[in-house]
């Protein structure tokens, strides 16, 4: 028993489990409030300059060195140009961000939450935004899905950070985003049809992690499950959504906006 124990301890101490992309609503501030505030406004102004009524927005909530290969953003959502009513009664224009966030204290469950750019970027590890602007007609369809409340019908609260986009057993923020896009494209909220369409046309990201690490995550971490996968693990990412839109001629622009306003091509 002692030898087995020692072996397991040694294994545990040397194994570093992969870090995946969680969708926490609020995390601790890594920059000054002024820096985050200015960056968030820069993102808004960039999208506004492009005339984006709806775009897909990504953030980096963890040090990039900790992210698995192929994953560049930790949280993805949809920003919609909106009329925003303030508690003072004043109405202003800007972007409202429609998120799927993990529930506080219940990491294996999620909820749909609207927040705003400074909320969205509050706890990021890097002042860097992913911006995917769909074609105008798809933007309008995305807005219609959200404005009609159909995004609620596309939500499955059972959360796994590595959710399989080809079934609806679990859902993460990027899969929810993909569901909304495809609900707009195919004009349906029928989940079976959406998953069938995704299987045929969407290429997800393979997660490169050892089966042992995934098994440990499956056993001990609430928001990691491989139950919805058979064999290798694939999930939706910000970048694979960009590639999907590009491949189907539904993409206007896909860029990464950095802290000083530098713009890099995403794809």
């Amino acid at each position: 028993m002692n030898k087995l124990l020692c072996l397991l301890v040694a294994v545990m101490l040397t194994v570093s489990l992969p870090t995946f992309a969680g969708s926490a609503q609020n995390t601790e501030l890594q920059f000054t409030a002024k820096e985050v505030d200015e960056f968030a406004k820069r993102v808004e102004l960039f999208a506004a300059k492009e005339g984006a009524r709806a775009f897909i927005i990504g953030r980096v909530g963890r040090p990039e060195k900790d992210l698995p290969e192929g994953i560049n953003f930790t949280h993805t959502a949809i920003a919609v140009y909106s009329s925003i009513t303030l508690d003072t009664g004043e109405t202003v224009k800007g972007y409202a961000i429609h998120n799927l966030y993990q529930k506080e204290g219940q990491a294996d469950k999620s909820e749909l939450v609207i927040d705003y750019p400074v909320d969205f970027f509050w706890g990021v590890s890097n002042l860097k935004a992913g911006i995917i602007i769909p074609t105008p007609d798809l933007q309008q369809r995305i807005i219609n899905v959200i404005a009609s409340g159909k995004d609620q019908q596309l939500h499955n609260e059972n959360y796994s950070v590595i959710a399989n986009p080809f079934n609806n057993t679990f859902q993460n923020c990027t899969e929810h985003t993909l569901n909304i896009l495809n609900a707009g494209v195919y004009q349906t909220t029928d989940m079976a049809q959406l998953k069938n369409n995704a299987k045929q046309h969407f290429k997800p990201q393979k997660i490169k992690a050892s089966p042992f690490k995934l098994l440990l995550g499956n056993w001990f971490v609430d928001d990691v499950s491989t139950k919805d996968h058979s064999g290798k693990v694939y999930t939706t990412t910000f970048t694979t959504i960009g590639k999907y839109l590009q491949k189907n001629d539904l993409l206007s622009k896909a860029v990464v906006l950095k802290s000083e306003g530098e713009v890099e091509q995403l794809l």
């Binding site: 601790e28 009524r53 705003y116 309008q140 009609s148």
Partner: protein, 111 residues
Amino acid sequence: MNTLNKVILILLTTTSLQSFADSGASQNASAASKHSALAASHGSVASAKLGSAILATPLVIIGAIGSVSLKAGNELMESALSTTPLEITEKTITTAPSPAQIMKINQQEKL
């Protein structure tokens, strides 16, 4: 075997697994402090520069895309064609704090 399980659980929860599990910690505390931090960063003009949102209504374009159905009732319709750049408020907009967050802020202020 029980001892073995306990040892493994302790190791996992105190070392490497933390990288999975720390994504949702301290949400109320950080949400409460966000409003204070933003107000401080704006100084004496904070009240004019900050806004708490209570409702966001998507804006729909009329005329730009003729084939789009506008039957949904939860959006505002803009009469003009898409203008570029779109108007963006200079204010910093945040989600309005929840009652729990407000109470937490009030408690902190009392201390």
